[in-house]
Structure formats: structure tokens, C-alpha cells
């Protein structure tokens, strides 16, 4: 066994030496030697979070499919990511049900002009008052981006967010909206197809085929609020889509995580320094 091994090695020796000689000659000809090194490039956070030591992922105005509790899942995912990948301390609290909060605020806002107007009788209700009431109609269920739009004003309510900030000793507040809706699409897509020729040789060729596809679209908008003032300091909006073959039964929750995986690095990059791993070539 050993003899056979050494004989084999001896047979290969001239080849190995030749290869080494060629490499050495090439290196000498190029006049440089290369050393591959791993590097970790730190990318500074896009947002200055130095005034804050704690972060409250408060909750989201969530809409779309009912298969996933998007508010709950987004809060859980972002908190766990921030715990491991940022220096901010994450506050544990029940996620706010912001759809209900917005509807409550809306009721109060629309009831006030009604109460004021009732003393003077219905005749004095002006057109502009009617318009403002009409403008504050909040759809009870959020199915698409249009339904989500009227909820946006909740994030501009500085008094509300200041109160939340005071309750948790002025942290950085993360809130926003998340829309996770089913999507279907049909049309021509490029697929790789295996073909065998007369001699039985396999080839893979791109082919345009008509396909029915289904999946989900995820559109989160993260809003960063200063808990001391209630004012918005930054926002980050993203939109991602995953479409599968119509026969594919990928659960909604899996797709949600697949899409959030693409978005989370940007979210973390806003709040904390991220290290990007790679390799570079050092030269002599």
C-alpha cells in the first residue's frame, strides 16, 4: 500500500514540480505576489443613534393577508435582530395595536367638530367640515396601499409618540406600516429546460414559457421617532416580492421571512454599524 502510494507520488512529482515552476515563473514575470486576506468593512449607521441607549419597536400598522399576524411577527423579528446586531438595548413590551389606536384617534377627532357643530344645528355644518370628516375615514381592514394611506397621519401625531416616549423613558421608537399581500401574475418567463439529442446527450436551454405564478408582496415602511419629542427623525421604505409556480404551496409565513431577510440588513444598517465580510488581494 505504502509502496504503491510512494510510486504514484513519484510519478506525479515531475508534474507538480513543473506546475510550481510555471507558477513561480509567472509570478516573477508579473513582478508581484498575491495574498488573499479576509476583510470586514464596517459600514457606519445611517442614523445617529448616540442620543439613545434604548430602542422600542412599538408596533406597526399592518395590513394584507390574514394568514400572518404581520404586526406581531415584524415586532418579534426586528427586536430579535436588534438584540444581537445592535448596541441599543431592546425594550420588551406588548406590541401596540396601531390600527386600533389610529381608529380611536380618528373617532375622537371627528367627534369633536360634530359636538361643536350640534349646538348650532345641522344647518351650520359647512362643506369644508364635511370634507374633513370624509377625509378621515379609515378603512377597518387594510387590503392594499390605498387603504393604508389614511393611517399615515398617525406617525405625524407627535403628542401621541411623545407620550409613548415618556412611558418608556425616551427611547428611540421604531414604528411604521407593513403591508403583506398575496400576488398573482401570469405571463412569459424564462425557464431552463433539459433536452436530450439523438445521441442521448443532455443540454440545458433557456425557454420562454407562459406561467401562472403566485406569491406575496411585502412593503414595509419603517419610521424612526425620537421618543423625547415625538418627532419623526427618519424613515426607510422597501418593497419586495416573491412569486412561485402556481402549484407551489409555500406557506405565507415562510414567504414573509424570505422577504424580510432581504430587507432586514437595510433596516439594521440604519441603526447600527454593520460589518461586511469579504476577501481582498494584498500585493507585494
Amino acid at each position: 500500500m505504502t509502496v504503491r502510494f510512494s510510486r504514484k507520488t513519484n510519478n506525479r512529482l515531475p508534474l507538480v514540480l513543473a506546475a510550481a515552476a510555471i507558477t513561480a515563473a509567472l509570478t516573477a514575470a508579473c513582478g508581484s505576489e498575491m495574498y488573499e486576506v479576509p476583510v470586514e468593512t464596517p459600514i457606519p449607521a445611517k442614523l445617529d443613534v448616540t442620543p439613545f441607549q434604548r430602542v422600542l419597536v412599538a408596533g406597526f400598522v399592518a395590513g394584507g393577508t390574514e394568514d400572518v399576524d404581520t404586526n406581531q411577527e415584524t415586532v418579534r423579528l426586528l427586536r430579535s435582530q436588534l438584540r444581537t446586531k445592535s448596541e441599543l438595548r431592546v425594550i420588551d413590551a406588548d406590541p401596540l395595536q396601531l390600527v386600533e389606536v389610529a381608529q380611536e384617534q380618528n373617532k375622537t377627532a371627528t367627534a369633536a367638530p360634530d359636538a361643536a357643530g350640534s349646538g348650532d344645528g345641522p344647518s351650520v355644518r359647512t362643506a369644508s367640515a364635511q370634507e374633513s370628516t370624509a377625509a378621515t375615514v379609515l378603512p377597518p381592514k387594510i387590503k392594499d396601499e390605498k387603504d393604508l394611506e389614511p393611517y399615515e397621519r398617525l406617525f405625524a401625531n407627535t403628542a401621541y409618540w411623545k407620550r409613548i416616549g415618556e412611558e418608556y423613558q425616551n427611547p428611540l421608537i421604531v414604528t411604521g406600516s407593513v403591508l403583506f399581500v398575496p400576488r398573482t401574475s401570469s405571463g412569459l418567463v424564462t425557464r431552463e429546460t433539459e433536452v436530450y439529442d439523438g445521441l442521448g446527450r443532455r443540454r440545458v436551454i433557456p425557454q420562454r414559457v407562459y406561467m401562472e405564478r403566485k406569491g406575496f408582496m411585502l412593503r414595509p415602511k419603517f419610521i424612526f421617532i425620537d421618543g423625547r419629542t415625538g418627532a419623526t427623525i427618519s424613515s426607510l421604505a422597501r418593497r419586495e416580492e416573491a412569486l412561485y409556480n402556481a402549484q407551489n404551496e409555500t406557506p405565507a409565513l415562510s414567504t414573509y421571512f424570505e422577504l424580510m431577510d432581504r430587507i432586514v440588513p437595510d433596516f439594521l444598517g440604519t441603526l447600527s454599524t454593520q460589518k461586511i465580510k469579504g476577501t481582498r488581494v494584498l500585493l507585494k
Partner: protein, 113 residues
């Protein structure tokens, strides 16, 4: 006259060879310490190397990598650009620079998109 010219050329070529040798020593030492994770020491060595020999493309390339590793992205970009200007056909320097640009673009991305 000719003799004097040749002597000057030989002297300057010898001086160049000397400075390249000195710079190369610094570069080699820098590579050695960088491979052990001592990037700040490497930066010191490579800064010395480019000071000794400002036409040493490899030294600028290594310095750029070290700046990148330390998060000094502006300095890294300038060093890469200098390395490419000195050795435009070096595929390794170009590849390093392309990878750096990808990260640098991400760092300066707008918040809302």
C-alpha cells in the same frame, strides 16, 4: 559629457532601486502583520512604503485594503484610485476596487428608496 550623463542615470536608477527595496520591505512586513490581524501596524508600514516610493502601486493597493478594513472609506477610495492610476492593467487591484465600490455605494445609499 556622455559619461557624466550615464553616471547620473545610473545613480538615479540605483536610488530608485534602493527606495523600491526599502518600500518593499515595509510592504512585506505590512502583509505579515495584516495576515495576523494587526491592521493598524500594517497601515503604518504601508503609509511608510508609499512615502518612500510614491510610485509603488501594490503598496497603495494594500493601504487601500487596510483603510477599508478600518472603515476609513474615503481614504480607501483615494488609495485605490492612486493604485489604479499607477498600474491601470493590474486585474487584482481592479477587482479589489470593484468589491470596495459595491460596499461604498451601500454606505452612501439614501435612506428612503
Amino acid at each position: 559629457m556622455l559619461l557624466a550623463g550615464a553616471a547620473v542615470a545610473a545613480a538615479s536608477s540605483a536610488a530608485y532601486a534602493d527606495s523600491r527595496t526599502d518600500a518593499r520591505e515595509q510592504v512585506e512586513f505590512g502583509i505579515n502583520v495584516a495576515q495576523r490581524g494587526l491592521w493598524r501596524e500594517a497601515i503604518y508600514r504601508w503609509e511608510k512604503a508609499v512615502e518612500i516610493d510614491p510610485k509603488y502601486a501594490a503598496a497603495f493597493n494594500d493601504l487601500a485594503i487596510a483603510y477599508e478594513h478600518e472603515g476609513q472609506l474615503d481614504k480607501a477610495r483615494k488609495a485605490y484610485e492612486k493604485a489604479i492610476a499607477l498600474d491601470p492593467n493590474n486585474a487584482n487591484i481592479r477587482q479589489n476596487y470593484d468589491l470596495f465600490k459595491e460596499i461604498n455605494d451601500r454606505a452612501v445609499q439614501p435612506k428612503d428608496k
